[in-house]
Structure formats: structure tokens, C-alpha cells
Symmetry: C2
Subunit: 546 residues, 2 copies
């Protein structure tokens, strides 16, 4: 058993109870389990025409999912792919039918016709007004005298439901239902068969093929066709439907047969609108699972001529969540990209001291490249040094266009340069570091505090903290020491970097995927880079001072 | 390729366009295809806090499906399972953010954190107020410092969305989002892996196993467990969640990971409510696909402590259809079966003439049994005669309890007897025939007209017409002739029955499945039975008259 179920015999009753648990008191079931499985509205006073539908289960959310204000009054549910009994249908009719009468909406299958038909007779014998309509929208087999009822049934539920809700009488509701049935056509396509609970899956449709014109009970399609793209699939479906529709505006119902993903269904919606019938499609219901065939990875399209009455019925409010609404079909609304996507180029300015500091830092990184690579090779792919050196060279090349005299703009500009020249996570993190430092600088912070603000931000965004074996383990103590002086910052950075050699469980970054043995005894290359930077800066300061 | 798609490179843009086509102008996309895939509300004036979320695609309806009043302001969509670029996120932020600022809701994946994080910095550099929260609700790996963000994200979207809609400021919206993130825990289970578009499917989970604690990008679960029933599956999930929740009331979100059927999801909902945490679950969102993993046949459960603020946010209206609503969880409402299911037993009465007529008809059918069986064997399973004879014997046995003196009640009583003693379609059809005749009799029709009303009804319910090679081909002309007399009726029935031997394409009933060669030259057994009945009745009338 590869289904989330307990037993074939209880799947339908358990699923209905699951539905009823969360219906907030709006739905109830009749006390007839296991044979009588009928879901009814609780907010129903029998003053209007009752709508009763149903049939075998396995088509969820049909039919119980469509019970509610504006749609069905009761759903009579059989076992999976099995018609409910006459008694079950009669119970449904009697439970919801008052003087206004009842319309039975039945899909065209012999079992359903007979069982609903006899139940209708029994109810009539008790003095109730009962009408029955048979939905036969499937055009898979053009010559078949008894076309199946498939997803077009939803149009009947919705349009008749709206009329009933408005207080129309039984004749009017039944006439509207018959008009819908007269007009609606449907066809389905699938890439795989459905899996009937408790039965082995039939491997009928080979890879690269699709079945066109299949039923909703695992019946084979009328033909197997080559499947290439969503576009060609929709074209085949439209080709079958087109001969049955006139030139006027249409409502399309795009039904997920159960196992197609929302992503696929949305692509199919786009292809339906782009198809040769697309220009006629004024409204769309779905894409959504409405009349499924268990887990069948397929879809069906139903088309209904869109008259005023039909539009009004489809647009009327309905309380069942499973009804996805009927939406106007139009062009894709496209809005211009916002301004500000291309960063404003800072106005270059000069500041010899700042320029020298940046050049110094960059040269330190370039010189440390091979050592850092060697360190990284012990626990990673050995490119930390090269990555930093490349970025440093790029930054040196950019010095002439940087706003060196404006620290706030400079931080931001450095962040932008790094995000454009350094790949990977570390490039993005450094870009965030400098951008946040720029914001802090704009807010009046001095350099140590601006850099600390940058650090706080990358800790938030990157998710790493102290002791996680990242460059933060050196950068955090360095920035804490910086107000005292470069020497203090360098000592603190070194201590922090060396401590990373004893951290054998990395909690963030790439090293978190590595075994302890490959980490022990080696400093984290990022932390080491920070320590080297501060040490070399401090050494130059000493040299300059002597 | 076994997916409804055109190409891996266009699947996301085509799906988004499909969504936008039917958004009725409420949604637009930014003009940045293919790299910038951002869906925005069109009814947005930037006066309130913007909510921007997103990430890789393949989780539909997340995130574009949740853009709309009361939820997200913009969704930034990457390719399937790939984070959107910094530029794409920045475009989303800039398109919808005004003075009230913007909250970024990001699932805890490195790529998303970095790209949303850097985009936030860029937006801040342009003077916008931007906050970012990281959702990390997955409790699959209890010790992981960076738990993944999964379906619990929906709680954040909805509760923050409601606050934004109400005009709360950025601090309040972000604080509420952080409270939700602090409280929410999730875990998933699947019976199969997902199929990544353009990639072969990984057969990782053997039959009889399930994966517990899996990610939404095809990452393997933390363990493979034995799968037996929906009940045991839900128990395992609840066991993982229970240590993380307090004793107070909870909101549960039951998410379809993509490929589970509505039937399975409803069974799982029932099992969740029946579980040991069930008594604490006061509200439920779903079951519905909300944060899917393409076609993964699995589900996830997210639990959030239900405080007043959370309840208010979850119950507030939201326009995106994909939001299934938050519903109170309660007992299954059960309503008593209606009266009238057990047919009222008619009061027996006597009428020697009627009794004799019924007995005669029954004996004719009993005598004809073997001949009709032989005829049926030529095109069917050879039991038409036996079936009719059995029913005839049962009817004779019931004569003492029939209301023989009241024709209206008698028709109905005969229909009831036949429906209880005859199996199969023909039993139901004969029951409908007599029940409808009873209704017509109640309305004042005489016997020929009452029987015609019965015939009309079985034509409607059974779907067969004249010339379809059924008993109707004899019964219809017989009833037309009946007002003239039994002789005329018998002649007409015989002609009709004999004509069925020339009908080689049956359009209804069992014979419609048979080849022409097995039908040609033999009368339809049902039509023959009708002809025999009228012929024998006419013969007895002649005998009685002489």
C-alpha cells in the first residue's frame, strides 16, 4: 500500500469525517455509516430547491467538497469508483428536500442513473417534487450515444446552485441545468493512470505517450498519442473540443485530474489561453482539482458557451472553498521595473590617505593568497586565497572611480564592487558587510562602529555566530579591540583565528558539512584572512611609527 | 519528459503568466523576464507595510499564489528550487515599498538569506525601511543550528499580512512575524521523491517505506521508516512535533506536498485530529497544497500556539484563493437519518381479478424462462429467463401482502418487490417502471397511460430509446397498441421484438459492448420477453372469450 490510508473499506468514511471536522459546523453527515455516506448543509431550511449530486468517491473535492451555500445541498458518496446505493441517494433527497423540491445532478454512468433514478421514484412516491438531469459532457468518443459525465458537471452545480440560492423554482433550476448540459463539452488527457486504493497500479501509458479522452475511473483513453510539450498536449485537447463549440465567448474550466502539479496546471492555463480557442475564452474556472480521478497526472478542459445567465451563475458567491472562482481571462499585466535597480554610480573623489589604506589592505590579501589557499585545501576546495586576491585586485582597479572622500558612499561602493566581482556566499556576505557599514556611517557612526554594524548584519543574514568557525571568530574580537588601536585589534583577531582550529563542529558555512577530523588543528581560512589583515596593518603602523 | 511543460527554462515564466491571465487585473508582474520574476499586487498604494517573500519555484501555490489583499504584496520567484537573484529581490522591494517600509519573509536557506539580505541592504541604501525575518520551522533535525524554513512560512504570511492590511507599522508587523517564527514547528513525510523538471526521478524510497523529516527540495528525509497506515504515519509525525509544543491550544496547518490526493489528505486530517495532540488543535488550515515540493506524494504538519493575536490574523479575510482558510476543529456533526427511508408497507387488500392477472403474467414469465435463457445465451450470459422467472416466483409469493384493490399503491408495491428481489440493472429499471406508473396512477391516469409514464421514465433514466435493441423496442409499441386491445398490443410487441434481430449495433445496455456478429439474427431477450407476455395474455383472452 503506497497511499496515505488505513484500509480500503474505511478510506471514504474517514476522509469525509476529516472534511467534516473542519467544516465549522456548516456541514454534517447523515447517521448511516458505512452504507449511507451523505454530506448535507446544516444551514439549510428546505425553503429553496435542494441540489443533490454524488456518485462514486475518488473524485475529490467532488462532490462533498462542493456542498455549501451557492452550490450543492447534499452529496451522496459511494465507495471509490462505485455508485452509492438507492437507499443512500434516497436518504440524501429526504434529508434536504422540502416543498420547493429537489434537483438530482447525475453524471452519465449506468449505476448512477439507475440508483439516483430509483431513489427519485421513491421520493416522488412520498409526495416530493424531484427532477433529475444527466450530465454527459465528455466528447472523447464523438459517436457514443451515452457520453460520460466528467468535470463539466461543476458548471451545473454552480449555475443551478446560484439559481437555487436566489430562490428560483424547480422548473427554472432544472431548465438552467439542462441548458448547461446542452452546451458544455469536456475532454481529458493524462500522462499516467490512476492508482486505485488497494489495487496494483496499471502501467498502461508508456514514457513519451499520453492518453487522450480518458475517463475519470481509470478507463483507458480513446487513443495514446505522442507527448512532447504542454503546448502540443493542449493543442490536441483543443482540437477535439473545437468542433463542438460555436464562435461565441466561452467559459473554460481547467481541471486537475489529481496528480498534476500546480506548476504544470499553470503552464497548461497559459497554453489554453494561447491556443486557437484562446481568444474566445472570456472566463476561466481554475486551474484547480475539481473532478479528480484519484492521483491521475492529467487534466481536463471543459468549455461552456458564456451567456449572461451562465456568467451570472458562475460569478455568484459560493461558500465551498474547493470552488476556485470564475475569473476573467485577459492579457498578462506587466508593470515597468522600478527605478533604482541600477545603482547610482558614486561620484569619484580623492583622498590619498584612504586610497593608501585600501591599497595596503588589498596588497595584504594578494600576498596572503597562496598561504590561505593552502590552509583552505585542508578543509575545503583550496580557493579562499585566490578568491580574496581576485577581489583585491579588482578593488585596486576600481580605485579611480570610488568616492574616496566620502566614507559613507565609499563603504557602499566597495560593497557594490565586491558583489559584482566576488562569486559565492562570501562575496555576498562581504557586500552586505560594507553596505550595512555604509548605512551606519550615514547614520553618523565612526569607522569601528560602522564596521560593527556591518558585522551584526552579516551575522543576522548569514546566521553564523561566534564559535561557528567562520571569519566572524576573528572579525568580532578585532572590531572590539579596534577602538584601543590596531595592535589590540590584531592580537584579538589572532587569538580568535587560532581558536577556530579547536572548533571541530562547524555550525555554519561550508565547513558544517565536513567531518571533525578534517577540521581539527587548522584555522578557518576566513578567520585567518582577517587575522592576517589586522596583523599586517598593525605591523605597517609600527614600521611607519619607527 | 513526463511533465506538462514545454521546457525547463520557461516553465516558471509560463506558469506565472498562466496565473496572471486569470488574476482579473489584481496581479501584475514586473517587466524583467526571464531573470526578474516578480508578481505584485496592482491594488497597492504603498501606504502600508509591504510584505515581500519568495524563493525558488516548485512550491506552488507558494509564493505567487499568496499575493493579494491580506497576504503578500509581492512574490519574488526563482527558477525551480533556485534562489532568485539579488536584483530580482531588489526589484520586488522597490516596486512595492513606500514610507511604511517593507518586511522580507525568507525561508532559511543560505541562497535566499544572502540574496534577500543583500537586496535589503541595497534598498536601505536608497533610504527604504526594510526588515527581514528568517523562517526556520522544520524540526526534522533537532540539533541543527539552521533549521529549514518550510510550510510554517504560511502562518507568517497570513498573520503579518493581516496586520499590514490593518495598517500596523513595520516594527509591529516584524515583531508579530518573529513571534510566529518563534512558535511554529513543522515536519514532513513522503512516500515518494519529487520529480524535478528535466531530471530523471530518483527512486530513493522503496515500497513499504516512507521518509520522515524531508525537505521541500528533494533532500532526503532524516530517516526511512516503515509505512503501514495513515494512522501510524500521522503518529510518527506527531511524535516528532509533540516535544516542541506546550500544553495550550494550537493551530495546525496540514500541507499537501504536491502529489497526495485530496482523499488521502482528508484521511490524514482525520488522523491528525484523532492523534494525541488532537485535543489541543483548536483550528486547522487545510488540508491543501500550500508549500509543495513539485509532485511529492507527501504531507507536512505545522503547529503554532494559538494566541488571540494569531487567531485574529489567521481568521482575517484574505483574497488569494490558494489560502484555504482557517477553520475551527470540532466533532463530526452527525444528523439522524430522515424518516421515509423504510418504505411504508402497503395495507394488503384483495381483488380477485387483479390477482389473477398478476398470477397469469408471472406464470407466463416462469414458463418462458428456459426459452429466454437460450436466446440470451446467443448474445449474453444466458440468464435473462432465470432472472425474470425468479422475480415472477417472488411476486407470486408476495401476493397476499400486496394492496391488490388499490392500483396506485399496487404499482408502487410491485416496484418495491422487484427492486428487492431482482438484481442488476433490469431489476432497478423495472422497479422504476412500476414506481413511475404508480405516480401516474396517483395523478389519475388509467392503466395504459400509467404504464406509458413508466416507460417514459425508464427511457429517461436508462438512456435507451427506440431502436437501441432493448425491451423498449417491444414495450413501446405494445403500450401504443394497448388502448385498442390486447391483440393489437401483442402484434405490435411481436413486430418490435422481431425487429431487434436486425439491430446489430446496440446503443444501450449490455449488448452495446458486443460485436455485430453476435447480435445479428437473434431477438433481444428483453424485447422477446415483452412480446411473449403480450402474446400469451392475448391468447388467454381469446381462449376465455371462446
Amino acid at each position: 500500500m503506497n497511499r496515505f490510508m488505513n484500509a480500503k473499506d474505511t478510506i471514504v468514511t474517514e476522509a469525509l469525517d476529516g472534511l467534516l471536522r473542519t467544516a465549522g459546523g456548516r456541514l454534517a453527515r447523515l447517521d448511516g455509516y458505512p452504507h449511507i455516506k451523505v454530506v448535507v448543509r446544516t444551514d439549510w431550511d428546505k425553503s429553496r430547491v435542494a441540489l443533490v449530486s454524488g456518485g462514486g468517491s475518488g473524485h475529490e473535492p467532488s462532490h462533498a467538497g462542493f456542498v455549501g451555500a451557492g452550490m450543492l445541498t447534499a452529496a451522496v458518496c459511494g465507495d471509490v469508483f462505485a455508485s452509492p446505493s438507492v437507499d443512500a441517494v434516497l436518504a440524501g433527497i429526504l434529508a434536504v428536500t422540502g416543498k420547493a423540491g429537489c434537483l438530482l445532478i447525475v453524471k452519465n454512468y449506468t449505476g448512477d442513473r439507475l440508483n439516483f433514478g430509483l431513489a427519485a421514484e421513491r421520493a416522488r412516491a412520498q409526495g416530493l417534487k424531484v427532477e433529475m438531469v444527466i450530465v454527459n459532457d465528455d466528447v472523447a468518443l464523438p459517436d457514443l450515444p451515452q457520453p460520460r459525465g466528467v468535470a463539466g458537471t461543476l458548471f451545473v452545480h454552480k449555475i443551478a446552485g446560484a439559481l437555487s440560492e436566489d430562490g428560483a423554482d424547480l422548473d427554472a433550476v432544472a431548465a438552467a441545468a439542462r441548458r448547461v448540459i446542452e452546451g458544455v463539452v469536456s475532454i481529458g488527457m493524462s500522462l499516467d493512470t490512476c492508482t486505485v486504493p488497494g489495487s496494483p497500479k496499471e502501467a498502461r501509458i508508456p514514457q513519451g505517450k499520453a492518453e487522450l479522452g480518458l475517463g475519470i475511473h481509470g478507463e483507458a483513453g480513446i487513443e495514446q498519442v505522442d507527448f512532447t510539450t504542454a503546448k502540443s498536449a493542449m493543442e490536441m485537447v483543443v482540437d477535439r473540443l473545437a468542433p463542438h463549440v460555436g464562435p461565441g465567448p466561452l467559459v473554460a474550466l481547467l481541471n486537475n485530474l489529481g496528480g498534476a502539479t500546480p506548476l504544470e496546471m499553470a503552464v497548461l492555463a497559459e497554453e489554453l489561453v494561447r491556443s486557437r480557442l484562446g481568444a474566445q475564452i472570456r472566463w476561466m474556472v481554475g486551474p484547480a482539482p475539481m473532478m479528480t480521478s484519484l492521483d491521475m497526472q492529467g487534466f481536463s478542459v471543459s468549455l461552456l458557451p458564456a451567456g449572461k445567465a451562465e456568467e451570472a451563475g458562475l460569478l455568484a458567491p459560493a461558500s465551498p472553498w474547493a470552488w476556485p472562482g470564475c475569473h476573467p481571462v485577459g492579457e498578462v499585466a506587466v508593470t515597468a521595473l522600478p527605478d533604482g535597480l541600477t545603482p547610482i554610480k558614486p561620484i569619484p573623489s580623492s583622498n590619498p590617505e584612504t586610497r593608501a589604506l585600501i591599497e595596503t589592505c588589498c596588497h595584504i590579501m594578494i600576498e596572503a593568497g597562496s598561504d590561505l589557499n593552502a590552509l583552505d585545501a585542508k578543509s575545503g576546495d583550496g580557493d579562499t586565497g585566490s578568491t580574496l586576491a581576485t577581489a583585491a585586485r579588482a578593488l585596486i582597479g576600481a580605485l579611480d572611480r570610488l568616492p574616496l572622500a566620502d566614507h559613507t558612499q565609499l563603504y557602499r561602493a566597495i560593497g557594490l564592487e565586491l558583489s559584482q566581482t566576488m562569486g559565492g556566499s562570501s562575496g555576498v556576505l562581504l557586500a552586505i558587510f560594507f553596505a550595512a557599514a555604509g548605512d551606519a556611517s550615514a547614520a553618523g557612526k565612526d569607522m569601528p562602529d560602522a564596521l560593527k554594524a556591518g558585522l551584526d548584519r552579516i551575522r543576522q543574514v548569514g546566521g553564523a555566530g561566534l564559535g561557528d568557525r567562520t571569519m566572524i571568530d576573528a572579525l568580532h574580537p578585532a572590531l572590539e579591540g579596534l577602538p584601543v588601536g590596531l595592535e589590540a585589534a590584531a592580537r584579538a583577531a589572532r587569538e580568535g583565528a587560532d581558536a577556530t582550529a579547536r572548533i571541530t563542529r562547524a555550525r555554519a558555512g561550508r565547513a558544517s558539512y565536513l567531518a571533525e577530523s578534517s577540521l581539527a588543528g587548522h584555522n578557518d581560512p576566513g578567520a585567518e584572512a582577517v587575522a592576517l589583515l589586522f596583523e599586517k596593518l598593525a605591523a605597517r603602523e609600527r614600521t611607519a611609527a619607527t
